[in-house]
Each structure stands twice: as C-alpha cells, then as structure tokens.
C-alpha cells in the first residue's frame, strides 16, 4: 500500500484552506473572520512547504500569521463603536460581512 | 469623538484606600475626571460630640491611620486653645519629636505606595522595611505602632523612655544612608523621570484657589509651611527648611515627589535637634473636665493643612467639632491635574498626591 504522502498532505491542506476561506466569508463576527483568514494563510504556507520552499513558508508565517491578522483586528477595533456586539443582521441577503453597513446595532 | 467614563475603583489594586475615580477618556487621553468619595465616611464629627474631650483622641488617631499622632495633636491643640491651658515646654518638645517620627512613617508609607504604582515593586519593600524602624521607635515611645493614642489635652501621655535619643540617632544614621539608596533607585532612573516629569501639572494659582496645601502646594513653588508660617509647639525654635520646589516648572508629579522626599531628610534633622533640646520638667498639664468656648488650631499635617475647630458649651463633651482635611481639598483639585494626561498616568499622579481616605472621608 504505497501512500503518496505528498498528495495526501496537499489534499488535507487544501481542504483546510478552502474551508477556512469559506469561513472567512461567512463568519458573522468580524474577529472570527480575521482568525479564519490567519488559518487560511497558514495552510497556504503549508502548501509552500510541500513544494519544498521553506523560506517562503516561514516568511508567510511571519508576515501573514504574525502581522496581517493583527492589523485587521486593529482596524476592526479602531473603527467600530460597539465592538462587542457586531453581528451581520440576518435579514440581509448578501453573505459577505461588510463593516460599516448601516443597520448594524 | 466622545469619550467614555471609566471607573478606577472602588475595588482597584492601586487606588490606595476606598474611593472611586471616574475618568472620561478619549482614546488614551483624559478629558475629564470626577472623584467619588465617601465610602469610608464614619460620621466622625457627630461621634465626637457624644464623647468626652479626652476620649476623642482615640477617634482622631483613626482619621488618618497612617499619620495618627499629627491628627490627634491638632485636635488637642484646638481643645487647649479653647480651654486656655498651656502645655509645659517638655511636653511641647516631646510632641515635636513624636510628630516628626510620625511624619517620617507617613511619608515612607506614601513612598511604599507610590513606587509600585509606577511599576517599581522593589520600592514597596524597601520603604516598608525602613518604615518598620520608625514604627519601632513609635512603639518604644508610645507603646503602639499605629493609632497610638499618645497626645493628651495638656501634654503627652508619657515621658520619653530612657536612652531614646540614642536609638533615634542610630536609626536616623541608618536611614540617611538608605535615603541615598532610594535616590539612586528613583531620582536617577531615567524611566522614573520619564513617568513623573511634566505629568499631572497644576499651576500655583490653581492650587491656591482649590485649597491645596502641604507638599503638593510647595511643589508648585508656593512657600507655605504652617510650621514656619504659624508656628505651633516649639517649631519656631527648630532650624529646618520647608522644601519648596524652586525650579521653574513645578507642580508636576516629580516636583511633588521631590518635595515629599526631601521633607523626610528635614524631618530627620528636626528629630535629632528636638531630642537634643528637650528640657527637663513636667510633660503634661492638668486639663479641666468641662470647658466652654471656641478653639481653633491649624497644623502642618503630613499631607497639608489640618484644621480643627472645637466649640464647647460647658459640658464635658464638645458641642461641635469641625475637621478640615487637606486631602479633601486636594482631591477636588485632582481633575485639574488629570486633564490632558494619558490614562496610564492616573495612578502615577494620584500616587504622587498622597491620598489618605480616612481623613478625606472622616
């Protein structure tokens, strides 16, 4: 039973990444979205690792998991007044969470 | 952008004592402030009306429990003025000795509270270690470390114990070396200067208008020390210098810190001089039981001007006692000190102002 570990790893990481990106777009809370974004980018880095580019993987972790989500969360926190209760109102039909849309409590 | 109100207290690790400071912050900057006091109000002025004159000394001790003798002494002065009795010289000198030891203990407690506010946790333990020495002196002199019930109407409770001046000299010599160590820890620390200079500034005019007294006022450059201005006891025969901030830009936390710190050195001087000059003789005059009249006494407490106004109506209890607490007036001036500073400075500013809630709330 010869398992192609590269293919298996690639499939698992891609599945995680796709799931993460769907969760980014469908999360009701913005901070959750930022967290899933971090996970998505880390799994992309994992794919870089499968392709044997360790340097790019580590830089990806350093920048995209260490700095960019923090920047996003800062942006969210500094621009919203009631950060504790931001929820996209359920009667809207679009699935993207857009900050600053009126109608938010 | 509007600010929102933040409660610092009443349960807060670093507001010393039980009071609440509401600050309105806009981002990190303080826009307004409002102290809420009265959590420790015990109804002193009313209680003192139902106790005999001498028994009130037990209560006045607990007004500012960190600096008990100064408060009881102010009360005794007011009652003596009302009764028209004169304290014998030895009693007056012993009072000066006890007052200065108590002032040192109080300032050390302030230092022990101020240092950890800024993050210097080592300062807490060092200052308390030194305070233990002075509490030992007080125990030797009066029998208790705090809330000593020492001043009496007409003098003091007991005479100086034998060899007391030798102990004082030993402790003061040791303490002066420690003060140099503290200076190395605090005055020359760049971070300490960064945290306290220019922070919590109040102008001299504002301070006088709001009734700020004591080291807080002297830090603004105003030379008012009631031990010099209206000398009581034998302070006019003692050679000391009120610590006034003579630089240009006073009134900030650093100036308050330096003034109070240097007062400790002056207190050491006064202590040794008073011990040397104490004459022999009686230390207590007999006070009448009943009295009628008004007595008014103003003293330089560790925190400022403590004022007692006692009215007697011929009974053996006071008819009315009015207490003026320095911290009460300074607390009203704290919003001025706080406005414009950052939220991280609140504890630094309030620590430098030396709040004692007991006397503020009475």
């Amino acid at each position: 039973m010869a398992v192609d570990w590269q293919l298996a790893a690639f499939l698992i990481l891609s599945a995680l990444e796709v799931a993460g990106s769907i969760l980014v777009v469908t999360s009701k809370k913005l901070v959750h979205a930022a967290f899933w974004l971090a996970m998505t980018l880390v799994t992309i880095g994992g794919i870089y690792l499968i392709l044997l580019s360790e340097f790019v993987f580590l830089i990806q972790i350093l920048v995209y998991a260490g700095a960019v989500p923090v920047l996003f969360v800062f942006g969210i926190m500094l621009t919203r007044r009631k950060i504790m209760e931001e929820v996209t109102p359920p009667e809207r039909t679009e699935t993207a969470t857009v900050p600053g849309k009126e109608g938010n409590p | 952008m509007a600010g929102f109100w933040v409660n610092m207290g009443p349960q807060h690790p670093m507001t010393h004592g039980l009071w609440n400071m509401r600050v309105k912050i806009d981002g990190e900057t303080i826009v307004d402030a409002e102290p809420e006091i009265g959590y420790l109000h015990r109804g002193y002025e009313k209680i003192m009306e139902v106790r005999e004159f001498q028994k009130n000394v037990v209560l006045t001790d607990r007004l500012c429990y960190v600096s008990s003798i100064t408060w009881s002494h102010a009360y005794c002065l007011a009652v003596e003025k009302m009764m028209g009795i004169e304290v014998p010289p030895r009693g007056q000198w012993i009072r000066v000795v006890s007052l200065e030891i108590q002032r040192l203990a109080s300032h050390l407690m302030w230092l022990a509270a101020f240092a950890p506010d800024l993050g210097l946790l080592t300062g807490l333990l060092w200052a308390l270690r030194e305070r233990e020495l002075f509490l030992d002196l007080l125990q030797l002199l009066t029998g208790a470390r705090m809330n000593q019930n020492f001043p009496r109407i007409g003098g003091v409770r007991n005479d100086l114990p034998p060899d007391f001046d030798k102990y004082c000299k030993k402790i003061v010599t040791h303490f002066r070396k420690k003060l140099d160590e503290y200076e190395a820890l605090m005055h020359s620390s760049k971070i300490f200067l960064m945290r306290t200079q220019g922070v919590g500034r109040i102008s001299a005019a504002d301070a006088i208008n709001w009734g700020v007294t004591g080291p807080n006022l002297r830090a603004c450059g105003v030379d008012v020390d009631f031990r010099r201005k209206e000398p009581y006891e034998t302070y006019d025969e003692v050679d000391f210098e009120p610590q006034v901030w003579r630089g240009g830009d006073g009134g900030d936390s650093y100036a308050r810190f330096v003034c109070r710190f240097n007062e400790m050195r002056e207190s050491c001087k006064i202590l040794l001089e008073a011990l040397a000059k104490t004459p022999k003789g009686p230390y207590r005059a007999k006070a009448p039981r009943r009295a009628e009249g008004e007595g008014f006494a103003r003293t330089e407490d560790s925190r400022g001007e403590a004022l007692f106004y006692v009215i007697g109506d011929g009974d053996d209890r006071p008819y009315r006692v009015k207490i003026r607490s320095p911290v009460f007036c300074t607390m009203a001036a704290t919003p001025i000190m706080l406005r414009g500073n950052k939220m991280a400075d609140v504890v630094a500013i309030l620590g430098s102002v030396d709040v004692c809630v007991g006397e503020m709330d009475k």
């Binding site: 830089i59 969360v73 | 670093m14 950890p116």
Partner: protein, 428 residues
C-alpha cells in the same frame, strides 16, 4: 562526540533506546512462542514490532516528549524559581521557601512527622509546582458574554506557538528536535505568532480593560519585532546562514589566542554586532513583556491586563509561558551573540559502551549553554525589578523612533564591514 552529551542527536539517542526496548520485547515474544508451539503466529508480531517506521515514530514521540518536558516543565519551573528567589532577595526578603517535607504523601509526610521537620525552611522550588497544582484545581470561569470559541482558542494559540519555538531551538548540537536549515527564522516566526493570540484573548473577554490591554500588548509586540528582525539581518551579514547550529559553530573559532587562553569569536565582539546586540536586548525585553515594558500586564491599572478574565489552568498556561518565552528569548541572545553552547569542554576517561569507546565530556556543551542562559536571565531579572514601568506611548516611542534607526545603523555598519573588512578565512 564532540563535546555535547546528547549525541549525536536526541532523535538518534531515542531511536537507540527504543530499538533496544523493542528488541528486548521482540525477543521476549519470540521466546514465549517457540517455533513448535501453538502460538507460533506471535513470532510474526515479534518481527512486526521491529519495523523501522514503528521505531522511528516511537523515537520521535519520545524525543518530543523529552524536549517538551524539559522545556515546559523542568526549565520553566526552575527559571520561575530563579526569578522569584532573585527578586525576593533584591527586595530584602527570603522569597519562596517551601521545603520537600511539606509534600503530603509518603515517604515525606511520614519522615517529616517522625523527625519534626520544618516545612518552610527549604529551597522553594516546589512552590511553583504547588502553584501549578493549585491552578489546575481551580474552576475555569468563562465570562458571561465572552466570545466562547475565541476565548478558548486564544490561550491555545499562545501556548502552542510558544512550545513550537522549542521544536527548532537547540540546547546543544545534539539536544534538539529538528535541525532545519532555516531554524532561526522558524524561531522568530513562532515568536511572532503570539500577538494574534494576545489580541484575540483581550478582545474575547468582553471587558473594556482587557481589550485595552490586548491592544496595547499587540501594538508593543509588533513594534518591537521590527528592530528584532533588523538586528538579526545585521547578523546575517556575518554568519551568512540562518541555521542556528552553523551560527554557533562559526563562533567557536578563536578570535585571539594569548598563551593558553583563547578568546572565541563571539558575535558580540564585533562592532556592528554589538550595536545589534543592544537593539536585540532591548527588543527582546519588550517581546517578553517584562518590566520595564509590561504595561499590557500592568497590575497598577488593569489588574492583569489582557489575561484578567482567565482563571484556572488557562491562566496558568498563559502566565507561565511568559517565562518560557523569556527562556526562549535569552536562549536566542546566547546563541546569536554569546557563542551559544561553545565553551572549553575537557574530556574525561573514556567509557566503553557496547564495544565502542566513547569519551564523556566534563562540562559538556549543554552545561555551558545552561550556564550562559541562567546568567543572561539573571540580568533580565535584575533589570526588571529595579526600574519602573514605561508608559505605553513612551514604549512605542522608543520602539519606533529610537530602536529602528539604531538597528538600521547596525545593519549598514554590518554591510560595510562585511564588504570592506571581511573576516579572515576560517572565521566566517
């Protein structure tokens, strides 16, 4: 063995160990099932457990367990103890003094009772264990309106990223988990995962104060990562490699030999690297969130800052791992600037093990590393407990306006030195 005790590699050592154990087990199974017996099928099992993939897997698991236990249990507890004792002595008091006679089980309780031993006249190392046990048995309270998934995930992020550092951080040439070509970058990347966890922790607690604390912490950590990385880049001009083991190896050569003494070519002895060291030193104190840079956790205003709402072992993990990051930070400085684990080794009489003759080093590389680590950690503790806290805007001021220009200066100097004053061949 060239000076390190765990040789050639932690993994190899574990593999030998596991191979030995599995071999004994396999022989026992084969012995219990001789060829003619009814349970002959077990002989196949005896062969199967000697499969290479099983041995490798078990060896990896054992190696990882040893490393994590060493770092997060032994070293963490010991360094917490060192800090608590040191700052207590700075404060003129004895510090934690619990002794082994206070343990509530046999044989300690029995002997202590028999001999009337005092329970608090000891070293105090067990106090941290006691504190850990206390935290374990506390209730894990989740605040009412806290964002539960994020509230629970944040400590996981912080703790796991901190432990991840030790996957690539070596304690000597052999005492490591993995010798990856880019281990320095790996360590720095693992360091930089924490701000996200801290920010989420502060936000998810549904508390104005923890939010402020979390934002301050994230701002501080991100501000100080830049001079950290710039100083490392300045170092790269000299070392030319991001592999931690090669960086230390380059520092083992002698810079100057005076008679019997030789000064090794530690990176701190060169001018641009000394500047880089100063920058790195200040930046790592901020990354470790120690006083003078611990406003995010300032007790004076925000009780515990961003981790106020955590209780029980969640708090214990996050709070205790602050010391793990301190160990990792000190280890980084020792490796990058102070020659890592290099030091005179001195060999003792040889030991024959299984036919081979093996020299055992006295004062091996691990000991030198730990020695330097402890000394550097003591410097950090000393600084922490003698200075007040810096205000957050002053912290950010220092980070952005003072450290980054200094780091850039170190970078430029390093580039100039590397171009025009290259080190002699042999010293890289």
């Amino acid at each position: 063995m060239s000076g390190h005790l765990v040789a050639p590699n932690l993994f190899e050592l574990c593999r030998v160990l596991i191979g030995g154990i599995l071999g004994i087990l396999s022989d026992a199974i084969k012995g219990a099932a001789p060829p003619g017996s009814p349970v002959e099928g077990l002989r196949g099992l005896g062969d199967a457990i000697l499969a290479p993939w099983l041995i490798d897997l078990s060896a990896w698991l054992i190696a990882i367990t040893i490393m994590v236990t060493w770092a997060a249990a032994v070293m963490l507890l010991t360094f917490m103890w060192i800090e608590r004792k040191t700052y207590s002595r700075l404060q003129d008091r004895y510090g934690i003094m619990i002794s082994v006679w206070s343990l509530p089980f046999w044989p300690f309780s029995w002997w202590a009772k028999r001999r009337n031993k005092p329970t608090h006249k000891g070293l105090g190392w067990l106090q941290n264990v006691a504190d850990g046990v206390k935290l374990l048995q506390k209730e894990n309270i989740t605040p009412a309106k806290a964002d539960s998934p994020m509230f629970h995930t944040a400590p996981v992020l912080i703790a796991s990223s901190t432990i991840l550092i030790f996957a690539a951080l070596p304690f000597s040439e052999g005492f490591l988990i993995a010798d990856v070509p880019l281990s320095l970058l790996f360590i720095l990347a693992a360091f930089s995962l924490a701000p996200l966890g801290i920010l989420i922790a502060g936000w998810a607690s549904n508390n104005k104060y923890t939010l402020i604390g979390g934002m301050r912490a994230a701002a501080q950590l991100m501000a100080y990562e830049i001079p950290l990385l710039l100083a490392v880049i300045a170092l790269l001009f000299y070392s030319g490699t991001l592999n931690v083991i090669d960086i230390v190896g380059a520092q083992e050569v002698a810079l100057l030999t005076i008679g019997p003494l030789s000064i090794p070519a530690w990176n701190i002895f060169s001018i641009p690297q000394f500047l880089g060291f100063i920058v790195f030193f200040v930046a790592i104190i901020a990354e470790m969130e120690r006083i003078p840079f611990d406003i995010p956790e300032a007790e004076a205003e925000l009780v515990e800052g961003w981790l106020t709402e955590y209780s029980g072992m969640r708090f214990g993990l996050v709070f205790g791992f602050k010391w793990l990051r301190a160990i990792a930070g000190s280890a980084l400085i020792v490796i990058l600037y102070f020659g890592g684990w290099s030091g005179p080794v001195w060999y003792t009489a040889n030991l024959s093990v299984g036919g081979a003759v093996v020299p055992i080093p006295i004062i091996p590389h691990e000991v030198w590393f730990l020695l330097k680590l402890v000394l550097l950690f003591l410097v950090f503790v000393w600084i922490s407990w003698s200075v007040p806290r810096v205000r957050i805007d002053q912290i950010l001021n220092i980070g952005w306006k003072r450290l980054i220009p200094l780091a850039l200066l170190a970078l430029i100097l390093a580039a100039v030195f590397a171009a025009f004053a290259p080190l002699p061949a042999g010293i890289r």
